[in-house]
């Protein structure tokens, strides 16, 4: 797609273990336009964090990119050497991790950690560095006096915002966030989210936002990508997913699990069962063992991604060849 900021094709990530390789991310495709807000949703262990780290070239052994390409601003990052990667790190894209308490070096002050970053990428003078540090802190609503503080001296919300501030030091074009709100309470979550959205609109960077909580991204994302068991289950414009029921039975289940304050009272339905063991994934559709509308072919035919209007779904319900052969199943497919 021309003009795309990020193009991920066929990305696969394996964990190398003594008992054989486990494929945590399986041939994922992903596109991102400049300034777009993409939400990545899924249960714990579905591979979403792994995927994001893989895109950012931040995997540690035993995780390894097993195949595919990650084209960012025209360059395939998988093929780049360490030195070239270091140049674009943080200037062009940055990462916000889940727990600021773990992601910030407990032994260095905030100021020192900002300074390290800026020194690594250019010759900014001491004064410049200090000004920029203060500026990014102010952007996220933290008093610059906290530059001197150590991570354990800040509150959880402040730490998280400090991380976001650090991510914005060079106003990159892409910020990847891995569950940045999970460690916060609901109120802090909302405040952080709206702040992130404001910053995004003001500074124009694209966002990949990983979370297990669909309600958090529903409001702010332009597109949504639902992952299940290491694969893309459904991807499409957020509005499409919420205006009419989601296409994939899993996404539907996710949505049903979250109550809405505004809508009518309805029964909360969870998704029975648990995610598959990725060391031995089920044959056919991976969601089939838990799927309420599974058909016989689902346990043997692995579904591809089928285009449905402006989205794509990995579900045999949308495979015309199969549904035509069983017209009574058409009822399960809501237009």
């Amino acid at each position: 797609m021309p003009g795309a900021l990020l193009e991920v094709r066929d990305l696969s990530v394996d964990y190398i273990t003594d008992a054989g390789n486990v494929r945590a991310v399986d041939q994922v495709d992903l596109d991102l336009q400049p300034g777009e807000f993409l939400g990545v949703v899924g249960e714990s262990g579905c591979g979403k964090s792994t995927m994001v780290f893989a895109i950012a070239q931040l995997l540690f052994p035993p995780a390894e990119i097993a195949g595919g390409s990650v084209t960012f601003k025209g360059q395939d990052m998988v093929r780049l050497g360490d030195t070239e990667l270091r140049h674009i790190r943080w200037r062009d894209y940055s990462v916000v991790m889940q727990s600021a308490m773990n992601a910030l070096n407990p032994m260095k002050s905030i100021e020192a950690q900002f300074r390290d970053t800026m020194r690594a990428h250019g010759d900014m003078g001491t004064e410049e560095i200090r000004e920029r540090s203060a500026e990014v802190l102010r952007i996220v609503g933290i008093d610059p006096v906290h530059l001197r503080s150590y991570p354990h001296q800040l509150s959880g919300g402040m730490r998280q915002r400090a991380m976001i501030a650090m991510a914005l030091l060079f106003t990159p074009e892409l910020v990847m966030m891995d569950e940045p709100t999970s460690a916060l309470d609901v109120v802090a979550q909302r405040s952080l989210m709206s702040q992130v959205k404001q910053l995004q609109e003001r500074l124009g960077f694209a966002v990949i936002f990983v979370t297990h909580d669909m309600s958090v991204v529903a409001r702010y994302s332009d597109r949504l990508l639902v992952m299940y068991a290491g694969q893309v289950a459904e991807v499409g414009p957020t509005r499409a997913m919420f205006e009419s029921p989601p296409l994939h039975p899993y996404s539907r289940g996710l949505l049903d699990a979250f109550p809405s304050i505004h809508g009518p009272r309805r029964e909360l339905i969870g998704i029975p069962g648990s995610p598959p063991d990725l060391g031995r994934p089920p044959s056919g559709c991976r969601f089939q063992p838990r799927c309420p509308v599974a058909m016989p072919p689902c346990s043997s035919v692995p579904p591809r991604l089928y285009p449905v209007r402006r989205s794509q779904v990995r579900c045999l319900l949308y495979d015309e060849a199969i549904t035509e052969a069983a017209p009574e199943r058409q009822a399960a497919v809501k237009p």
Binding site: Y15, I16, D18, V22, A24, S44, G45, C46, G47, K48, S49, T50, F53, L59, F60, P61, P62, A63, E64, I65, V78, R79, L80, G81, D82, N102, S274, P275, P276, D277, L278, G279
Partner: protein, 313 residues
Amino acid sequence: MAAPAMEANLSAAPATQEGFGRASFQRFSAAILRNRKATAGLLLLLFLAFVAAFPQVFTRVDPNAAIYPQAVGPSGAHWLGTTQVGQDVYAQLIWGTRLTLIITVVAGGGATLLSVLFGVAAAYFGGMVDRVLSVFIDIFLIIPTLPLLIILAAYLTGAGTVAIIAALIVTGWAFSARQLRSQGLSLRTRDFLEAARVRGERSMYVIFAEILPTMTSLLVANFMGLATYMVATAAGLQFLGLGNTSEVTWGTMLYYAQNNDAIQGGSNPWWALAPGFAVVLMGVAFALLNYAFDEIGNPALRAVRRPRARRAA
């Protein structure tokens, strides 16, 4: 309990949920066999145990018989030469295996038991109990082991091997206790323990049925580590002449050899070299198993191949 699905958390966990029930025993044995260090260590240990159990297979000579030519070097008749008083060094080496192994294993086991007792209790009960036990452990850690051991052994001269083993245990348990305590602490907040507590299980149950199995690899690693320590320390103690010098062990061989200047040229150097290398061998066996179980318990330590980076040079 379903096997935990692949966590995208890439930081290493200090203790995994290995060691649950029978399925995990199979996984456990498989892990041991797959680990090269463990296999090598196990084989070596089995060999030494065999020598200890059946010395007659390896030599017909009486180790205490002082009837051979004195202080000669290795020869066809005496593979490792003889001692100052005319005993066959090789025979002593073979027969000395038994007591050396026994001392090592018993002292190591005793120290492991004590360290489990204090370390796990401190971690589990927390609060005041933890604080008191921690101070207790710290005291034993700070007081220098060998000097204390020497003093105890000196006061107990003539009291025999049992006393030596007791002294070794008393001075050796503290380090392992500290390790177990910190591992226990990290386990304390794990979910499956909370679940047991919420179910209303009694403390003893939680300790024996939930915590200890999880710490199996770590416990075994600790025992192996302690055994490695005991081999060298017991030998050192005996080398100084503080063991039971009437028994034949590798340590006492070294004592007599040193007293007769075996290395310095006064006698057959193999009198000292043979038991010395034997001690190293036993130490290596236990050390291999120690490192192996360390790796099994903490996956982050396992040997990693540098990932074949699909990068330009």
